[in-house]
């Protein structure tokens, strides 16, 4: 609707009408109306999305937000509903997952763009996309039925064999090997494709010019990557990081299956814990009244966290585009 060119004055359309001069966005065809209606419908759905949850959560937010944010311990069915363990669990698992995903993901992106021969690039990219397509419940299943036993039977005994194990690790291996650490690992695998997809995009659009210039000065391949590509793409890489972090915060069923579902702030990651999303998923089925409101309030908290991170990521990727436009 923004590109409108008036037809020449003496031309008549095959509908035998005098052509109109349409200007700007004030076109009056039914097509335009249909689009607007659909858009308003979507807007309504989005507002409803935020609004309904907020509405349901309101009583808890206004009266008990302090408890929700700071208290440890969730007493169904009447309260108090302390969300501290969920918040801490979400932050811990997401951050550890992020570290895993960024370290391996950055190496993967660099490999795909600069190291792998061109023929393999497509296969490699497809591989990473397939990783992204796997449903989260399948990751959770794999984590619970394969990784958890492995942790329980192999890793934890090994950790317990260390000198002073009791002092360092305490008593890991509860809940069949489910733990925040396991959840972090599974999450890391799940957000890896997100990070790789964006970082790949960001480092591959660094102009060829710069690559050739650096190599023409005698730089080695790694120097080219480290001194030219990465600094130029730095903002976009941060954008990829924030988006991957956002995704990690929102993961529900995979975490629910492997984190252990214990609503208590733990001393370290080898113990079972929970996250906001997985707690909502597990508790909602049996919840009534006030507890529903409390869970909805947790939902609002999750929404704020996730949306905030998403928006920061968007802003960063937008800034990155501007950097490259100047080059």
């Amino acid at each position: 609707m923004s590109i409108v060119i008036p037809p020449p004055p003496d031309f008549t359309s095959h509908e035998e009408e005098v052509p109109e001069f349409n200007s700007g966005t004030s076109s009056r065809s039914w097509y335009h109306y249909v689009l607007i209606v659909a858009s308003l419908l979507f807007a309504a759905v989005s507002v409803g999305f935020i609004g309904t949850i907020l509405w349901n959560a309101w009583p808890e937010i206004t009266h008990h937000s302090g408890t929700l944010l700071t208290k440890n311990g969730w007493q169904s069915p009447l309260g108090p509903f302390g969300g501290l363990a969920m918040i801490v669990g979400t932050l811990e698992t997401s951050l550890v997952a992020l570290i895993i995903a960024v370290i391996i993901g950055l190496g993967t992106s660099i490999s795909i763009v600069f190291i792998l021969p061109r023929r393999f690039r497509n296969i490699a990219a497809t591989l990473v996309e397939l990783l992204a397509a796997v449903p989260s419940v399948v990751y959770g299943l794999w984590g619970f039925l394969v990784l958890a036993p492995w942790m329980l039977n192999t890793v934890i005994p090994w950790l317990n064999s260390w000198p002073f194990a009791k002092d360092i690790w305490g008593n890991p291996g509860q809940q069949d090997g489910q733990s925040l650490l396991l959840a972090s690992i599974v999450l890391g695998v799940m957000i890896l494709p997100t990070f790789v997809a964006i970082s790949r995009e960001v480092i591959s659009v660094v102009p060829n010019d710069l690559i050739e210039a650096s190599l023409s000065l005698g730089a080695t391949r790694w120097q080219m990557i480290r001194e030219v590509i990465l600094p130029t793409a730095k903002i976009g890489l941060f954008g990829a990081t924030f988006l991957a972090l956002a995704r990690a915060t929102g993961e529900t069923v995979a975490v629910a299956l492997v984190a252990g579902g214990v609503a208590n702030v733990q001393s370290h990651l080898l113990y079972p814990g929970t996250s906001i999303a997985s707690w909502i998923a597990t508790e909602f089925g049996e919840a009534q009244g006030n507890e529903i409101a409390a869970l909805m309030a947790l939902g609002i908290l999750l929404m704020l966290l996730n949306f905030g991170l998403s928006l920061i990521s968007r802003w960063l990727v937008g800034r990155q585009r501007k950097v490259l436009a100047v080059v």
């Binding site: 759905v45 660099i110 990783l131 069923v253």
Partner: protein, 310 residues
């Protein structure tokens, strides 16, 4: 006549630093090359590491799930609960298969028309509404899927009084699919060369006819790809439907009935005490993964083939 070229006496200036520079750089060169090789190998290793989970997962899926999916009863029977007498009587997952199909169908009906239209609007309009909707849809695309379940619970199950039903689940999935379809439709329409639109307008056609008859058909590939990917995502999601579909144990197509879903069956039975059920979920997971892979890969292949045909 051949000339004898006069030699221009070269006036060489400013090379005092050359020797020093070359000396240092020669000394360091080998070390730099080694470091570059090491880092390259490390990056390649990272790539291999990222492939490991997928390989391991696929192996487990086929190893544990293949025996399960090779029985027709898996697809045709309703689930049953194992007992001490018959610990392997898990039945099948026909209700979940039907349920997933039902949910995806209804969700698509709700999400595709609206999603495509909004995507087209975003591509063609500069208004503030369009700009805000773009931000909203991108943010919603990354939103935690459990929130869609909460939304569907409040709105469909409670406020509309419909209760736990396929409709509620479809609604949640539709909200999930909408942003994906919007974003990919916008990209598809924007990807149509604007010369095409201008040519149509220059021939005197009205703008909306140009959009409908020239631009949209050209964008169909991208739009369909987006729809397929959205559907593929909806099929695999557990959290949106977890809270609202009610876990029906019969095969039903009615929107108001409770219904089952494949990912939900996995979630519910993963921690079952019965080994037979725990094995069965691998079969369900295998079916789910194969289906989702086929959808993703065909969407990708179709999109690239159409790209080449251009």
């Amino acid at each position: 006549m051949s000339e004898i070229i006069e030699l221009q006496e070269p006036v060489e200036t400013g090379h005092q630093m050359r020797d020093e520079i070359r000396q240092i750089s020669d000394r360091v060169r080998a070390r730099r090359q080694i470091r570059s090789r090491i880092m390259v190998v490390l990056c390649g290793t990272a790539f291999l590491i990222s492939a490991v989970p997928l390989v391991l997962l696929l192996f487990q899926l086929f190893d544990r799930g293949l025996p399960v999916v090779l029985h027709t009863s898996f697809y045709t029977q309703l689930p049953s609960t194992p007992t001490l007498i018959s610990p392997n009587a898990t039945g099948g997952v026909s209700n979940a298969i039907i349920g997933t199909l039902v949910l995806t169908l209804y969700a698509s009906i709700m999400a595709i028309p609206v999603g495509v239209l909004v995507g087209v609007y975003l591509a063609e309009s500069d208004s503030k509404l369009a700009a805000s909707l773009r931000v909203i849809s991108q943010t919603m695309a990354g939103a935690p899927s459990i929130l869609m379940g909460l939304f569907a619970f409040s709105f469909v199950v409670r406020d509309l009084g419909i209760g736990f039903s396929a409709l509620a689940g479809s609604f949640a999935l539709a909200v999930l699919m909408l942003p994906v379809i919007i974003i990919s439709s916008e990209i598809a329409v924007r990807g149509v060369p604007h010369t095409l639109r201008e040519a149509g307008l220059a021939l005197g056609a009205k703008p909306h006819k140009v959009s409908m008859k020239i631009v949209l058909p050209a964008a169909v590939t991208g739009i369909v790809t987006g729809i397929i990917l959205a559907m593929s995502r909806a099929i695999g999601e557990t959290a949106p439907v977890l809270l609202v579909i009610g876990g029906g144990y019969i095969n039903s197509w009615k929107p108001l009935d409770p219904v089952a879903a494949l990912p939900l069956s996995i979630y519910e039975n993963a921690k079952s005490e019965w080994p037979s059920l725990r094995t069965e979920v691998w079969g369900i997971a295998l079916v789910l993964v194969v289906f989702v892979f086929v959808l993703s890969l065909s969407a990708r292949m179709w999109a690239s083939r159409k790209q080449q045909a251009r």
